[in-house]
Symmetry: C2
Subunit: 279 residues, 2 copies
């Protein structure tokens, strides 16, 4: 597998790179960011995978989160993939912000035409993980996963299903139960079909009840003034699932914060320190 370097910029003594590769899972060219802290020059470092939300590319986290400063201090690499295939040009794939391009929802689609390229679950959990493990100065045995909104859903579901690969999980304003909110129902019906039984594999609250989680506590920050709180995010469903399954959850409601990167950047340091403490 060959990678192409799109850009590299020195940042806090390390290097923020953007790379592309031909993905077997998505059948198209995929871009992703990798921040390597100064410590990566001396030997492999732990690595965090960040999954972004609806409409994002690999760029949003890289330029808006302010994570490199803390990653440099802690000696952790940051990987930031795109949120969907690009350029497949399936009919209707750009008609809405919450389905298709920019909205892969971290599932492996089974409905045509999506099933051939919309395989963001396997792309993140397997292909990209292995590409990064083999191509950068990272310790793949010390990896964590986190994300925002749709990407918080992705981080929770991928992390919960792969405790062998991801030792720590956290999220900002995650969609905790896509089987029970409009964004999730639209995406799961569109990618998986109308049989709701097939959706359970991609619902963090159901996965927690089924598989539990024996890793360190899940750290979740949620803005109290988030415009999607009641309709789409529903953190109370995660609280209930974790209580039932005796999974440790640190849900922090943050009064006055919304769904934006201004919220993420305000608390990103806590998340990096949480992962670093347990990796």
């Amino acid at each position: 597998m060959t990678m192409k370097t799109i850009s590299q910029n020195k940042s806090f003594g390390g290097t923020q790179g953007v790379y592309s590769h031909e993905s077997a899972e998505t059948g198209c060219t995929m871009r992703f960011g990798v921040y390597l802290p100064p410590a990566a020059g001396k030997g492999p470092v732990p690595v965090l995978f960040w999954l972004s939300g609806l409409t994002c590319t690999e760029e949003n986290f890289i330029v808006k989160a302010g994570a490199q400063r803390v990653a440099a201090e802690l000696g952790i690499a940051l990987v930031a993939p795109d949120t969907s295939p690009r350029g497949l040009d399936y009919p209707g794939d750009s008609d809405s912000y919450d389905f298709g391009v920019g909205a892969g929802f971290y599932v492996d689609a089974v409905k045509a035409p999506w099933s051939t390229g919309y395989r963001m679950y396997s792309y993140i959990a397997k292909e990209l993980f292995e590409l990064v493990a083999g191509g950068f100065s990272v310790e793949a045995s010390r990896a964590g996963i986190f994300g925002h909104s749709m990407g918080g859903h992705g981080a929770l579901t991928i992390g919960l299903k792969h405790p062998d690969r991801f030792k720590t999980i956290s999220a900002f304003a995650p969609i905790v139960s896509p089987t029970r909110c409009p964004w999730g129902e639209k995406a799961l019906a569109g990618y998986l079909g109308s049989d709701r039984n097939t959706w359970a594999d991609y619902d963090a609250t159901l996965l927690i009840k089924r598989h539990g989680w024996s890793g360190p506590e899940l750290l979740v920050d949620q803005g109290g003034d988030d415009q999607f709180l009641a309709s789409q995010l529903k953190p109370e469903l995660l609280v209930a699932a974790c209580a039932e399954a005796k999974v440790p959850l640190n849900l922090r409601m943050q009064p006055g914060y919304d769904h934006s990167y201004f919220f993420i950047s305000s608390f990103i340091e806590d998340h990096l320190r949480h992962h670093a403490a347990h990796l």
Copy 2:
């Protein structure tokens, strides 16, 4: 003068706002960002004006610099204006990235048609300063100015000419002598005309020799791998001017850094602490 609120987002316990107003200087609607730290809720705080570079709007600094975290800690407000009038639709005003829209160069134009709206010097030094002083919880007597590239030029020239208003000055990769580089020569000829004698008022190196600077040392960071270093920025001209005029300058060459916000964000904390220490 009335202001309109475009957006407000909670950020590091304070508020990042974007506002607009009808500007008398530019004859159009102007946008600017104001970050108010938590301390501004208890009483007026010192304020820093950030001037952005070519092609930027008020947004770049707000989302990319990571300055709010430090401003919140230090209790300093941050003001981030646009870089030119918008919507005047002068012939040719969008033909190039380095003249016209997004490239006001912080001068008061005298050539038609630019002279009616391209008055970014007076807009920043007077109109916006007074608007912010009167409309936000800031101590106008404790103000500093800083910026990047074209905005570093703006910060130096406006600051040097208004020590009464701006007590501290710093810059990232500034155009230190626009009378002696292609970007500056194009802008000054276009806005002021071909008589180079009229350009001197907008050249930091000439202003330093003429007026000096009795404030705290000028802090300037310059990336060693900046693609514009030799052709446009020429920090050695600032070094020479400061030496001749006995103006204290702390020029820090930063090896490996380029001209981007990855460079700015890496050192923004030092600049905020520099201003805070002297305000």
